[in-house]
Amino acid sequence: MTRKLIKSVINIENKEHEFIGEVSLLEQETWGKNDTLKIIGKEISRIDAVDKISGTASYTSDINLPGQLYGKFLRSPYPSAKILKIDLSKANALKGVKHILTYENTAKYKWYYETSFLLDPIVRYEGDEVAFVAAESEEIAEEALKLISIEYAKLPFVVDTEKASTEKNIKVHNWGNIVEPSEYKRGNIETGFADADFTIEDEFRTSVVLHNPTEPHCSVVNWDNDELVIYDSTQAVYQIRELAANALGIEQEKVRVIKKYMGGGFGSKLDLGKYTIAAAIVSRELKKPVKVVMDRKEQNLCVGNRPDSIQKFKVGIKKEGLLTALQLNSMGTVGAFPEGAGLSWPAKTMYKCPNLLVNEKSILTNAGAARAFRAPGHVQGIFGLESLMDECAAKLNMNPLEFRLKNYTEVDPVSNQPYTSKKLKEAYKKAADLIGWEDWKAAGSSKSVNRIGLGMASQIWWGGGGPPAHANIKLDKKGNITIYSGTQDLGTGTYTFIAMVASEVLQIPIERFNVVIGDTKLCPYAPVSGGSMTAPSVSPAVRDAAERLKEKLMDTAAILFDEEKNSIKYSNGFCVNSDGSKKVSLSEIAGHLNEQDLLIKGSRNENPKGYAINTFGAQFAKVEVDTLTGKVTVLKISASYDIGRVLNKLTLDNQIRGGIIMGLGYALMEERIIDENFGKVLTTNLHTYKIPTMMDIPEIVIEIASDYDPMISNTGVKGVGEPAIIPTAAAIANAVNNALGVRIKSLPITPDKVLIALYVSK
C-alpha cells in the first residue's frame, strides 16, 4: 500500500478547512541542501516567458468563442435601497439585446452564505447587482444598461465601521451589523497586568484596500450539451467548479473550469463571481457562449477588499522586557455581507506571552464585501502588534530587535506544539545586517529637514500547504512527458517549478516537460492557489509522481534487460544494467511499452502530526521623511525569511519583492475612500486608488534563512506569497516613527498625516 485516505485540517487564508483525500505513503527522503541539487533552487527562467513577452499568452479576457454574447451588470448607484419597479421595455427594444435577468424573472440563487441572492430586490452597497444584460456586443450591453429604468426607494445607510458597530437604527441586514464576535483567552489577563512593571494602551488603524490585479475579473462560459465549460480568471479551478455546480444545482462532474494564464488575483479571484453564474444562466437559456469582463470601477466596488481595522491594545511588560499580558479589542468592516475581519493571529502566535485576551468583531457596512487579500488579517494585525512592540521597546529604552528576541517563542503559543522548523532568529540577524541596524538610534534623534529612520517588523504565517494535492505524470510512446495538476499559476511560477521538480528527479532537461494545469477535466485535484499553499502542496505531489515514474522505468528496464530490478541504475534519463553493457533511454522504454501511455499518479504526503507548521521572517526598512512636505520616501528594505526550501531563486525574488512593494503601497498610499454623505466610493479607478509605480521602488535586499523544512514533505518547501507582504507596512511605520519621533498610528501614512502630526497635533 503506497497510499491512504486521511482527513486533514488546513488553515487557508485565515480559515480552517477540513479535507478528506488520499495521501502518498512513499517515504522519499527530503532532498539535501540546494547546493547538492542540479535544478532546484537555481535561477531558472520561467517556462511560460516567451508567451508573455510576445503578447501571445491568452488570458481569459482574450478568449472569444464563436457567436458569443457579452454580459454586463446594471449596478446600484445607491448604498442602500429597495427596488420598487423595473421597466425593461426600452432596453429590450434595443437591437442586439438578447436577454435581461432581474430578480423578477430569475430563480433565487442563494449568495453570500445565504444572506442574499444572485439578484436581490434589496441592494446593500453601491455596485450591488440589479440586472444582467446579455447583448451582441459590449457597447450594446452598456447602452442597454442606460435604458433600464429602475425605481428605487432609498434606505438609510452606514459606511463608517465604528458608527455601524454601535448603530441601532440603521442595519445592513435585519439581524444587525455585527458578524459572529469572537473571543480568545489564554492564561489570566488580570494576573498578567498585575505582574507587569508597565502597561501601555494604544490604538492603531488601517484602511480598506483593494486588490487591483491588472487583469479584471472575467469569465467566458458555454454549455457543451449538458456540460458547463467556464473559462475563468481564477485562483481556484476546482473550487469554482464546486461553487458553480452548487449555485446552479448541477453535478460537479458536469462543470469544467479552465484557466491557463491570468493577470493576478491576490485573493480576489478565489471566489465564484456573480457574473459567472449570470452568464451561465443566460448561456443555458440562449444556447450561446457568454463573456463577461469587469471594468476597473466594478473591480474596485464589487469583487472584494481587505477590511479596515481599529485595533485597541493594552499590554503589560516587565522592566527587563518580558511581555506579561496582552489585550486586544479589534473591529473591521467586511462590507455588506458576512465575511471575517479578524486579525489576531499575530497577537496570539508571534511572541511568548502567557496571558492574552482577544475580542474581535466583523462589522457590516453598506460597502462591497471583503474577500481574502494576500495574508488576510495578518497584514493588519502585524501592523498593530509590531507598532505596539516598538512602543514597548521605547518605553524601556531598549533596541526594538532586542525586545523582540526577549519574547521569542520556540513553541506555538496557541497549541503548545513545537514547530517543524523556525529560523526566525537567523532571519532577524540576516535582515538586520543587510540594513545596517547597528546604526539604529532612538526615535526622534534627528532634527534636520530631511530625516532618516530605521524600523523593523516580524512576520508569521501558515504556508505549509497540505493534502490532498495530486499530480499525474504521463509518458507517451514517443517519450513525451506531460504533467497534469489541478493547480493554477497566478503568475507566481507554478508551471516552471512543476517542470523543475520533475526535471530534478528524472534528470532530464526542463524543456522535455509539458505542464498542463488549471483544467478540472484534464487534471487531478489540487488545492486553491491561496494561503501560500501552492508550492508546498503541489511540489511534493510532482516529486512523488516523478519518483514513481522512475521506479516504473527501472521496472521496465529490468524486464527488457532480463535482470533484477535492484541491479538497474537510473541516470540522466537512461536505465543502465548492472555491468553497464546495456543502456536504454526513457524514450526507448516508452516505445517498448505496450500500454499506449504510462499514466502515474503522484500525491502529497500527510503533514507530520503534533507539530505547528509556520513560515517566519523579518523586514527592516530605512526611510527618509521630508518634514517640509510630509513626504515619506522608502530608501531600502531588507528581508529575510524561513520559508523552507527555495525552488526557483528568480521567481522567489519576484514574489518577495512584489509582496514588499504591495506592502509599501499599503503603508504609504493605498486606501479606499468613501464619501460618507452619499455612501459612494471615491477611489474606483487607478488614478484615485494609488498603487506604487516604477518611481516608488526602493532598494530591496533579500537573504533566505532556511535550507529546507526537514519534516513537512519530500521537497521541504513552505509558501512565500503571503509572508512577503506581512511585515512591510509595520517596518515602514516603525521607521517613520524612528525618523520623526512622532508615530503615525493609521495607514496609509500619507503626506497630510505626517504634516498634521508634525505641525498641528503637537
Binding site: G264, R657, H687, K690, M694, D752
Partner: protein, 472 residues
C-alpha cells in the same frame, strides 16, 4: 472630405469607417483581434494598453508610446500603429530577451505594455542611461513583481545598445533585432497614405474639438462616440514652438513632451524640464497638450499652474478674428471659462524672462509620480541686490480655479528676501485661498501644505536668506 480612416497597423494598411472617437484599444482588440494589447484600466493609468504611434515628419517616422485606451482612432489616420504583435519577429528582441533572462514578467498581463514602452525609449532617447530608461516606463504599472526584476531587465537591455547610431537609427535597431524589418518600408507607405488622409467628418460646429483627449476620454468617452468630434489639425510647416521678439509663442496643440523637450523652452526655462516629469506619465505627456490642460480648467493642473506664474497670454481664433486674454483672467469659476463655444484656443505666448529670473515648481501628492497634486505652486521672481523686483506666485488645489496669488505677490514686490517677509507673505496667502476638503486632503491640510510649499520655494531658491526652522 474623406471620412474613411486609413492607417498602418503593424505591417498592414487598415481602412475603416468606424466612428472616429472609438478608442484605438477597442479597435485593435475587437476588430483586429490583436489581443496582446491589454485593457487594464481604460483611463491611461496602468499602461497595459500601450502601443507605439508613429508620425511622418519629413522622410522620417517619429514614434511615441501612447495609451491606446485614450487614443481616438480618428487621430490615428495617416499614422503607424505598432502593437506588441508588430514587434515580434523570428528572433526575440533584446528587450524581450532581457525580460526573459531577468524574469521581469510574472502574471505577464502588463508585460506587452512594458516592452512597447521600452521600444519607444530606444527609438527616441538621446540619453541611454538607466534613469531615463526607467522614467520611460513610469506609466506602466506592474502589480506582481515589485518592478525590481523589470529594472534589472532595463539594465540588461541597455547593454545591447551602442548609444552611437550610424545614421539611421531605425536601420540600426533593425540590425540589432530591436525592430522587425518591415519598419524600413513604413515611411514610404505612410507617404502613400498621406495624400488620402482622413480629414475628419464635415462638421461645422462639432460638439468636441479634441486636442490630445487624455482627460476627455477618461471623463466622457461614452458620450464622445455618439457625437460629432473633430481634431485640431496638424500645424503644417509652422513650428509649434517659436520665438517672436521677447516672447515664446506656442501652438495650443503642442504636447507636453514637445514642450518639455523643446530647445527653445530648455534655453529660456531651464528649470522646467525636470519639473515636468511630475506631469502624468510619458505616454500621457506624449498625447496631452498645453491647450487641453488649459481648457480642461482643473484647479490643480500642473501645466496651468506653471503657465500662470509665467505671465502667459492666450490667443483665441474665431471666424478669422483673434482675441487675446491673459491666462489669469480666463477662469471665472469652477470649470467656467471666459470662452465662447466656437472660439478655439490657437496659441499661447510666454514672455521670455530676464536672465536673472528664478523659477521653482512644487507639487505634493499622495504618490510622487503619476498623480494629481493635493496642492501645487509655482514661483517666478527676479531679485536685485536682495530686493524682489518681479514676482508671481501661483497655487492650485486651494480654490475652485487655478490661481495667481496676486496680493501675496504684491506684498513681496520690492521687499527684501527675509524670513520675516516670507512669513508675512504666507499670512497674506492664507487670506487669498479657499480650499475644500476632498479625497486629496482636508481644507486645513491644504492650507498648511501651501504654507509649506511657499517656504519650500524660498528655501530652494534662497537657502542663505531664510530660516526654515523659524518659518515652519
Amino acid at each position: 472630405m474623406k471620412t474613411t480612416i486609413k492607417f498602418i497597423c503593424n505591417d498592414r494598411v487598415i481602412s475603416t469607417n468606424i466612428h472616429p472617437a472609438v478608442s484605438l484599444l477597442d479597435f485593435i482588440r475587437k476588430q483586429e483581434h490583436l489581443t496582446g494589447t491589454k485593457e487594464g484600466c481604460r483611463e491611461g493609468d496602468c499602461g497595459a494598453c500601450t502601443v507605439l504611434l508613429g508620425e511622418l515628419k519629413g522622410n522620417e517616422v517619429i514614434y511615441k508610446n501612447v495609451n491606446s485606451c485614450l487614443l481616438p482612432i480618428g487621430d490615428v489616420a495617416g499614422k503607424h500603429v505598432v502593437t506588441i504583435e508588430g514587434l515580434n519577429s523570428d528572433v526575440l528582441s533584446p528587450i524581450q530577451e532581457s525580460f526573459i533572462s531577468e524574469t521581469a514578467t510574472q502574471c505577464g498581463f502588463c508585460t506587452p505594455g512594458f516592452i512597447v514602452s521600452l521600444t519607444s525609449f530606444v527609438l527616441n532617447t538621446n540619453h541611454f542611461t538607466f534613469d531615463s530608461a526607467v522614467e520611460s516606463i513610469a506609466g506602466n504599472i506592474c502589480r506582481c513583481t515589485g518592478h525590481i526584476s523589470i529594472k534589472r531587465a532595463v539594465s540588461k537591455m541597455l547593454t545591447f545598445i551602442d548609444p552611437v547610431f550610424n545614421g539611421n537609427r531605425i536601420e540600426d535597431l533593425i540590425n540589432k533585432n530591436f525592430l522587425p524589418k518591415y519598419f524600413l518600408e513604413i515611411p514610404v507607405k505612410l507617404k502613400g497614405l498621406s495624400s488620402e488622409t482622413y480629414e475628419g467628418k464635415a462638421v461645422n460646429s462639432p460638439e468636441f474639438v479634441i486636442s490630445g483627449g487624455t482627460d476627455l476620454f477618461v471623463q466622457k468617452w461614452e458620450e464622445l462616440i455618439k457625437t460629432e468630434v473633430s481634431f485640431i489639425p496638424p500645424s503644417g510647416d509652422k513650428e509649434k514652438i517659436r520665438v517672436s521678439g521677447n516672447f515664446v509663442i506656442i501652438k495650443a496643440n503642442t504636447t507636453i513632451t514637445e514642450f518639455k523637450e523643446s530647445e527653445i523652452i530648455n534655453k529660456h526655462f531651464p528649470a522646467l524640464n525636470e519639473k515636468l516629469k511630475l506631469f502624468g506619465s510619458l505616454p500621457i505627456r506624449n498625447r496631452a497638450t498645453l491647450g487641453g490642460n488649459i481648457i480642461n480648467a482643473s484647479p490643480i493642473g500642473d501645466m496651468v499652474n506653471i503657465l500662470l506664474a509665467l505671465d502667459t497670454k492666450m490667443y483665441f481664433i474665431k471666424d478669422n478674428g483673434v482675441r487675446e486674454l491673459p491666462l489669469n483672467k480666463f477662469y471665472l469659476a469652477y470649470k467656467t471659462l471666459d470662452k465662447q463655444k466656437d472660439e478655439i484656443l490657437d496659441e499661447i505666448s510666454i514672455p521670455i524672462p530676464a536672465e536673472d529670473c528664478l523659477f521653482n515648481y512644487e507639487k505634493v501628492s499622495k504618490r510622487t509620480y503619476l498623480d494629481i497634486a493635493s496642492v501645487n505652486s509655482s514661483i517666478l521672481l527676479a531679485v536685485h541686490n536682495g530686493i524682489i523686483n518681479k514676482i508671481n506666485i501661483s497655487a492650485g488645489g486651494i480654490a475652485p480655479v487655478p490661481k495667481l496669488l496676486a496680493q501675496t505677490g504684491e506684498f513681496l514686490l520690492f521687499k527684501k528676501i527675509s524670513t520675516d517677509n516670507v512669513s508675512e507673505a504666507i499670512k497674506i496667502a492664507m487670506q487669498e485661498i479657499n480650499p475644500i476638503s476632498d479625497a486629496r486632503g482636508s481644507a486645513d491640510y491644504k492650507k498648511l501644505l501651501l504654507k509649506q510649499l511657499i517656504i519650500a520655494h524660498f528655501v530652494t531658491l534662497f537657502p542663505d536668506f531664510v530660516s526654515i526652522e523659524e518659518l515652519v
